[in-house]
């Protein structure tokens, strides 16, 4: 036996340590709600995300713009715990995912451009399934409330394959918000929506700015993205090349500014 090692070691899970020491992983902390430190994601020789640092507090809404191939979706995947970073770490309320995966994932809601829905289940069955996975108690009430919220109460018993793209997108949003997450990630939520559906989505996203949540949205839609944001970043070549508070941005000239930044950095 090596000096200093013991044969009688017993594995104790992080959750058990928290319980024994009285640490409440849901308690408010001094740490930022969402923190990314040196995030890198490599796919073979390609570096999709190249050292992104990020710190967002509760109530902040960060919109990330960028051209195709900038690594926005890869970054969002890592922030949301869907993709493992090659290097770096993501913390929610100071906790890395490795310490308490269950608590970490319970605090996150993801709206991907893929819906995460089962085409042969009804809208209600999809939400009920995810409600069970998140261990919700009042599932029926929450389903009714969220279907109403996204304007699909009358489509609850329709199979997802019978819904239009816009309806599926709204149902995906209901799925992402069903468990009332602290941190919400939105990947291209406006893609393929008609003006009416986009308006409804805008209304729901505005409700997310209730000061209780942190939201990160990736979008190509400059107008919608700016309207929602409290902070804006432009990502090119896997890095944040431009970042500013939304209150300091000249909305009218932003499109020109965006193209100038992208062209300069591409």
């Amino acid at each position: 036996m090596w000096p200093g090692t013991r044969r009688d070691c017993t594995y104790v899970s992080p959750s058990a340590i928290y319980a024994a020491t009285g640490v409440d992983t849901n308690a408010p902390t001094e740490s930022p709600t969402l923190e990314a430190i040196g995030l890198v994601r490599e796919y073979g020789p390609v570096t999709a995300v190249d050292g992104v640092d990020l710190s967002l507090d509760t109530g902040e809404f960060l919109t990330i713009f960028g051209p195709n191939g900038a690594g926005k979706t890869s970054l969002l995947g890592m922030l949301a715990g869907a993709t493992r970073p090659t290097r770096g770490e993501v913390k929610i309320s100071g906790l890395p995912i490795s310490l308490s995966e269950h608590d970490w994932r319970s605090k996150v809601g993801i709206l991907s451009h893929r819906g995460f829905l089962y085409a042969r289940l009804t809208a209600e069955e999809n939400l009920r399934f995810y409600g069970e996975l998140f261990g919700l108690d009042d599932i029926s009430d929450r389903i009714a409330e969220h279907l109403e919220r996204v304007g699909l109460a009358d489509r609850a018993r329709f199979e997802v394959r019978q819904l239009s793209h816009g309806m599926r997108q709204r149902l995906s949003l209901a799925r992402a918000l069903l468990h009332d997450p602290d941190v919400v990630f939105l990947d291209e939520p406006y893609t393929g929506l008609d003006p009416s559906a986009a308006g409804l989505l805008r209304g729901v996203l505005n409700e997310l700015k209730d000061g209780r949540r942190t939201v990160v949205m990736v979008t190509h839609n400059l107008t919608e993205g700016l309207q929602m944001a409290t902070r804006v970043a432009i990502q090119v070549g896997g890095r944040f090349v431009w970042e500013q508070d939304a209150s300091d941005i000249d909305f009218a000239g932003f499109e020109r500014q965006y193209h100038a930044v992208v062209e300069a950095r591409s």
């Binding site: 869907a82 994932r105 996150v108 995460f116 089962y118 069955e125 996975l133 799925r175």
Partner: protein
């Protein structure tokens, strides 16, 4: 109900519901089982070979090939619209996802294995009545071991460009112990031998099944994490 058990039940219920609605896999597996039984019936010369001597091997081969048709597609339904990513990003332990998939696939395959047994008993005029309960137990253990390995490797092969082509290459070598113990015990019971004679084989088959489930539950996390 514990949170873990509740999550497992939710995934099993969802998988069974999807299968009931689509009937994709059960139809393919059931049709394969019946057709294989018919073809094997015509391929054996009963004037030189006793059907009960070869039936066990043919039943197990039909079960394995038919099983691959269904279990191999486990994650294809999940891949549509990225639904599996939604499950992976929810607070469900990865081993719970694996166990749920194994239970759902086992339900499907065991139903097909009983169909296979019925088809072969009919076409090969097998007298399996006295040992039927033990044969059903053996098929259950074999189905469980097969499903555990095939589910794990279906997750591996789904993420590759070779897809379903890769699955048999990965799974078949690992099925050798299961085939040896399964065919040996089923064949003797079909020939009217007492259970005591095959008890050792059945124990080994059971150990193989539970080892496959345990190994799959531990390894599944490393297969599905991106």
């Amino acid at each position: 109900m514990s949170a873990y058990f509740r999550q497992v039940c939710a995934i099993v219920k969802k998988d069974v519901l999807l299968e009931v609605r689509s009937r994709d896999r059960i139809t393919a597996m059931g049709a394969f089982a019946v057709l294989a039984g018919v073809l094997f019936n015509f391929s054996i010369d009963t004037t030189t070979t006793r059907p009960q001597d070869v039936a066990a091997g043919l039943i197990w081969m039909t079960l394995i090939f038919g099983g691959l048709l269904g279990v191999g597609r486990t994650f294809h339904l999940e891949a549509q619209d990225g639904a599996f990513q939604g499950v992976l990003t929810s607070p469900v332990p990865k081993d719970a996802i694996f166990l749920a998939k194994v239970i759902a696939n086992f339900t499907l395959l065991y139903a097909v294995s009983l169909l296979v047994l019925g088809v072969f008993a009919l076409f090969f005029s097998l007298d399996i009545g006295p040992n039927l309960p033990w044969i059903m137990v053996i098929l259950a253990l074999g189905s469980l071991g097969f499903v555990a390995l095939a589910t794990l490797f279906a997750a591996v092969s789904t993420g590759t460009t070779m897809g379903e082509t890769l699955l048999p290459v990965l799974v078949f070598p690992l099925l050798v112990p299961m085939v040896v113990f399964g065919v040996g015990s089923t064949g003797r019971l079909m020939n009217g031998r007492p259970f005591d004679e095959v008890e050792g084989n059945v124990r080994m088959l059971g150990a193989f099944a539970f080892a496959a489930v345990a190994a799959g539950a531990v390894l599944f996390r490393y297969v599905v994490e991106d």
